[in-house]
């Protein structure tokens, strides 16, 4: 589904990604871990087309298409979704209006007719239940005045609405209490199908207790330095990153 080859990227002229290689197949869950500043968020931002980053080398194909040549909106239409580490507040734009525009733009891209108002509201109701999102929040402005937990739940709600093929969860567990973490993780699991994949960026094992990864990668200094099964996450939780740095001869 996703194939990243020798990806280099810079921000303000500073190279952050220094040759990433990663393949994610349909139905797989990949976890990306690594110390602070290793490039995890940069990778997710580059994949969804954040304008601040510049790709200097490498290729990314998504379902056979050249992802890097698509606009940010079209990457979304193709089925790529990012759950933001820091969801943005948009005062004055209601959740309903925001989601209706997003869903109908996606439908337009795929040659489908726009949903009617009642079809749309029905869809919203159904998807809201997946993350137990309060109906009052749906009537408010996007993320405005939401608590940290509500913002993350709102991300997963949007994911449910857009039904992406590949979701990137960027530290979705940060700032969540135990109950919220469970609700969010269960939401992600409910949306899981054999055709959809997930990249989970996290610092902690506890999210991976709920969302079980097939593969775990360690990103360090802009490269993937270690790839193994789910046991790697447990080992990191117990031992930290020093042993990996030692393996690398640092």
């Amino acid at each position: 589904m996703l194939e990243i080859k020798d990806l280099h990227a810079t921000i303000n002229g500073k190279e952050i990604l220094k040759g990433i290689n990663l393949t994610v197949k349909s139905g797989e869950v990949h976890a990306i871990m690594g110390p602070n500043g290793s490039g995890k968020s940069t990778l997710s931002n580059v994949l969804v087309g954040h304008p601040a980053y510049e790709v200097t080398k490498g290729t990314v194909t998504f379902d056979g298409k050249d992802l890097l040549s698509l606009s940010a909106a079209d990457r979304s239409h193709e089925g790529l979704f990012l759950s933001f580490q820091y969801p943005v507040e948009i005062p004055g734009v209601s959740m309903v209006n925001f989601m209706r525009t997003a869903v109908n733009e996606q439908r337009k891209y795929r040659g489908l007719p726009a949903l009617t108002a009642s079809e749309f509201l029905k869809l919203m109701r159904k998807k809201r239940e997946i993350v137990e999102l309060d109906s009052k929040l749906a009537n408010r402005s996007v993320n405005e005045g939401f608590s940290g937990g509500e913002k993350k739940r709102n991300e997963i709600f949007q994911m449910a609405m857009l039904e992406p093929k590949l979701s990137i969860l960027d530290e979705t567990d940060s700032g969540l209490d135990i109950d919220a973490l469970r609700i969010v993780a269960e939401g992600v699991n409910k949306l899981k199908t054999p055709e959809t994949s997930c990249i989970v960026i996290t610092h902690y094992q506890r999210l991976l207790d709920y969302i079980k990864p097939d593969v775990v990668h360690v990103l360090y200094k802009g490269r993937i330095v270690k790839t193994a099964g789910p046991e790697l996450a447990l080992e990191l939780e117990a031992k930290g990153y020093d042993w990996i740095k030692k393996e690398l001869g640092e």
Partner: protein, 447 residues
Amino acid sequence: MKAEQQYIDLFSQYEAMICRNSADALNALRAKAFADFEKNGFPTRKVEKYRYMDVEKFFAPNYGLNLNRLDIPVNPYEVFKCDVPNLSTMLYFVVNDSFYVKNSPTGHLPEGVVFCGLKEAAGKYPELVKRYYGKLADTGEDGIAAFNTMFAQDGVFMYIPDSVELAKPIQLVNILRADVNFMVNRRIVIVLGKGAQAKFLVCDHAMDEVNFLSTQVIEAFVGEGASFDLYELEETHNTTVRFSNLYVYQETNSRVVLNGMTLHNGTTRNSVEVTLGGKGAEVGLYGMAIADRDEQVDNYTFIDHKVSDCTSNELFKYVLDDRAVGAFSGKVLVREGAQHTVSQQTNRNICATKEARMYTQPQLEIYADDVKCSHGATVGQLDENALFYMQQRGIPLKEARLLLMFAFVNEVIDNVRMDVLKERLHRLIEKRFRGELNKCQGCAICK
């Protein structure tokens, strides 16, 4: 004093004709206005409240004036056909400065209410018109007020007696109509008695793409405990220049909402002066401007807290694109003894391009010590993070920008207390942002 001379000459030569085609109440103030104009001329940039506007420049060209009151043939009902259910207002037309004689609004005004041409009112109710005409617009203080008082021959008179409530809002559509470059000087007098209630919507349009210059002076007297809403919507051409002075006097416990919206224009100068003259008076003063190309919008406001326990709430928002220039100058005066004043002023602006310019100047003068006053002004761009967030959800950049600009001005529309108008405004503003409202299309608000 170059531009002034042609008007001094014009007035001297045609004074008799101007008077003959007007009414006593209006004629009575011309000599004083002329003397003030001869002395002061047009306001220059040295006059604080005209700092951002080169007034003389706009009066320098040659405009035709219809001093002899020739009938300009136009049927507004033909031009402004409403093809969807209308706003359920009492709809009236003014062509240039004349009250359209064949006005036939649906429904009836309550007994005692007067809504007609100013010249007609001055003939029928001379004492009433004399009592109010020119009482707020000080010709010695403001050059535009002097100019308008010299040349104004007609306009509109609105009178709501004590305790009368208008069930339906009154809508007035001003149409600028001429085949040559043309000047219009319009005058509106509004009187609300004790406990009266009225909503008034004024739509300004230009039918022709000739160069129009219009001056308008509105004087509104709001009686004790009365409630008055005034919505002004301008949707004219890039070749239209508008100078509008609105004066409002509020008695004890009166409630007023003023909302001026510039959707499409050429050059616009709006001045609003509100006097809170009776205890417990409350004013909400709102404004919005959407401007692109070389459009220019200049709003000056002055709120005078004369007595204690009054409240003023002010919010102005601008979205400037291309090379548009905006100015907001807002003065709030809290006089000695005006204790327990609550006053808030906010001006927020978006410059969408590097060439767009915004000048903002809040001025608070406070001479009382037990008051709650605040003000704030910002000029900025659209939030990049929000734009990216929306794009990640599949909303194309153009659409995302639109949603943000719409959200930005929405706050002003939220203060409109006519639900149907609110809805129309939403549609109209969306069209405006999408670039589908490239010029005045007639009264789109009633279409």
